[in-house]
């Protein structure tokens, strides 16, 4: 049985001027511990699909289930969602930011200070619990956002281009960090990205979407030798560039 299943999802956006079909006939299944990426031209609905998987809104029709439980309106499921920017709350300290989810989801009396300091060292940050987000660099803030997401021990991590706002060096480092944390905790993850290289380096499977309406065009399996190594190593592996060429051609044909 698959961990995450998306069945016959259609989604249409309504505005005064027009109705836009964002997603049509989406069916996919993702196994536990798998890392998949959604790529495609802009307007292919990949972010919409991610939001639907996150349960942020209900699809026009179809269903999304995690371990056989409907996602939308389900308060028992915990889902980790990382956005393009960190969206740390500027008036909260780093510790308060990291433990925000814990505070909202559960009322466990565990020591928030302990949780925060463990997670900070886990994502490779010095003890900055008492600082405010503005005192940290962009890369550090995104690491804190990762810590905030991991704090609630989510069943699945949804990554909406979380590296796109970072400089190249921070981006490569953070890719490795996220990848290794997900492997360490055996988390399932879905990454939406514009960066084909990032998708190949990080994921086990890649879903290529075509636009207007958004549909799954093709699914690529990333070869075993790339999956086993870190994203940084994968980028310089020989099979990386051949897969890149194959998907690139498909991507070109869509636009």
């Amino acid at each position: 049985m698959s961990f995450l299943s998306v069945g016959n999802v259609h989604h249409t956006y309504f505005s005064k001027e027009a109705t836009t079909q964002a997603l049509q006939d989406i069916n996919l299944a993702i196994n536990k511990g798998e890392f998949v990426s959604f790529i495609g031209p802009s307007g292919c609905g990949k972010t919409t699909l991610l939001s639907i998987i996150a349960g942020l809104f209900e699809p026009t029709s179809g269903s999304v289930k995690i371990e056989e439980q409907e996602v939308y309106g389900n308060t028992n499921l915990s889902i980790g969602y990382m956005l393009q920017q960190d969206y740390l709350f500027p008036w909260k300290t780093i510790e308060e930011n990291i433990t925000l989810g814990l505070k909202l989801l559960k009322n466990e009396k565990q020591s928030y200070a302990k949780v925060a300091s463990n997670l900070l060292s886990d994502v490779g940050l010095p003890p900055v619990e008492k600082k405010y987000p503005r005192e940290l660099s962009g890369g550090m803030r995104q690491r804190v956002a990762l810590a905030r997401t991991l704090a609630v021990d989510p069943k699945i991590l949804l990554l909406d281009e979380p590296f796109s706002a970072l400089d190249y060096q921070s981006k490569l480092k953070l890719e490795d960090l996220v990848w290794s944390k997900l492997k360490e905790y055996e988390k399932t993850a879905v990454l939406v990205t514009h960066d084909l290289g990032e998708a190949i380096a990080m994921s086990d499977r890649i879903f290529l979407f075509s636009a207007r309406p958004g549909r799954i065009h093709q699914i690529f399996d990333v070869p075993e030798e790339l999956r086993a190594i870190t994203p940084f190593e994968a980028r310089s592996h020989s099979s990386y560039s051949s897969l890149f060429q194959v998907i690139w051609k498909e991507l070109e044909s869509l636009e």
Binding site: L83, Y87, F89, W91, L104, L105
Partner: protein, 264 residues
């Protein structure tokens, strides 16, 4: 030259600038009162209407000595502070209700515009008849003058909070009241503070007008009484006291601002 020395120089230049700013501020103050006194003595202006600093000061000293002014100050100050707090608090609560129910906010939108553009002091006579010619109707004046504009400004700020913060909270299954508490309200603190600053001035207007209409105590009463008996020393003294206390209130709000907004 080392860094420490350069930094020292930089600080010194800052201090120097600050001294000059203070000097000119003080100079304007001296020049204003000096010129006023001079103009009054040399009869460039009518001393009966415009009084003079010495006359106002003498009157103030007399009134402080016999204690009569303190009663008036405490009345007006109490009414103003209460009206000011009530106005801002009610405005925030109304804004929260509008944020809570987008439907209600759509329904009420034109009425807010009407209420906002109406001169609230015109309600004075009705308030006085309805609530009696006492303190409560004056406090209501102080509050009513600022409540609608506070509601509109704070509600606009509530709505302009970045939706992605709410998205983050939504993935943690936050309820609407948790969203309000964790994101909407704290991110609107700067706006609420700046409406407080505006409301300091507004509630003084409300209270003084209220006292014009009805009161037998307070600085507004002293102004209207001074006008009726043609004692403009009294009018100007009351104005001076109002200026001092309005400034103090404003400074207190700024102090609150520094305490409350840690992230700036």
């Amino acid at each position: 030259m080392n860094n420490q020395k350069l930094h020292e120089q930089f600080l010194q230049s800052l201090r120097k600038e600050k001294r000059w700013v203070r000097f000119y501020q003080f100079l304007i103050l001296i020049a204003f009162f000096g010129l006023w006194e001079l103009a009054s003595r040399l009869r460039w202006i009518d001393p009966l209407i415009f009084s003079s600093p010495t006359k106002v000061t003498n009157l103030l000293i007399d009134n402080i000595a016999d204690g009569s002014i303190l009663v008036h100050i405490s009345y007006t100050l109490f009414e103003t502070v209460l009206g000011f707090i009530l106005g801002t608090l009610l405005g925030t609560i109304l804004a929260a209700i509008l944020w809570w129910s987008p439907f209600l906010s759509k329904v009420l939108d034109p009425y807010l515009v009407i209420l906002n553009s109406m001169p609230k002091v015109a309600l004075g006579p009705i308030l006085i008849v309805a609530m009696g010619p006492g303190m409560s109707s004056i406090i209501t004046m102080g509050a009513i003058i600022s409540v609608i504009i506070s509601t509109i400004v704070i509600y606009t700020s509530f709505r302009s909070v970045d939706a992605n913060y709410l998205k983050v909270l939504q993935t943690f299954n936050a309820t609407r009241s948790q969203m309000f508490k964790e994101a909407i309200l704290p991110s609107s603190f700067p706006t609420i503070i700046s409406t407080l600053k505006v409301n300091v001035g507004l509630s003084w207007v409300g209270v003084i007008v209220g006292e014009f209409l009805v009161s037998s105590k307070g600085l507004g009463y002293l102004i209207i009484y001074g006008f009726q008996v043609f004692n403009f020393n009294l009018v100007l003294m009351s104005l001076l006291i109002i200026a001092i206390f309005a400034t103090i209130m404003y400074q207190l709000v700024e102090l609150l601002e520094r305490k409350l907004i840690k992230s700036e």
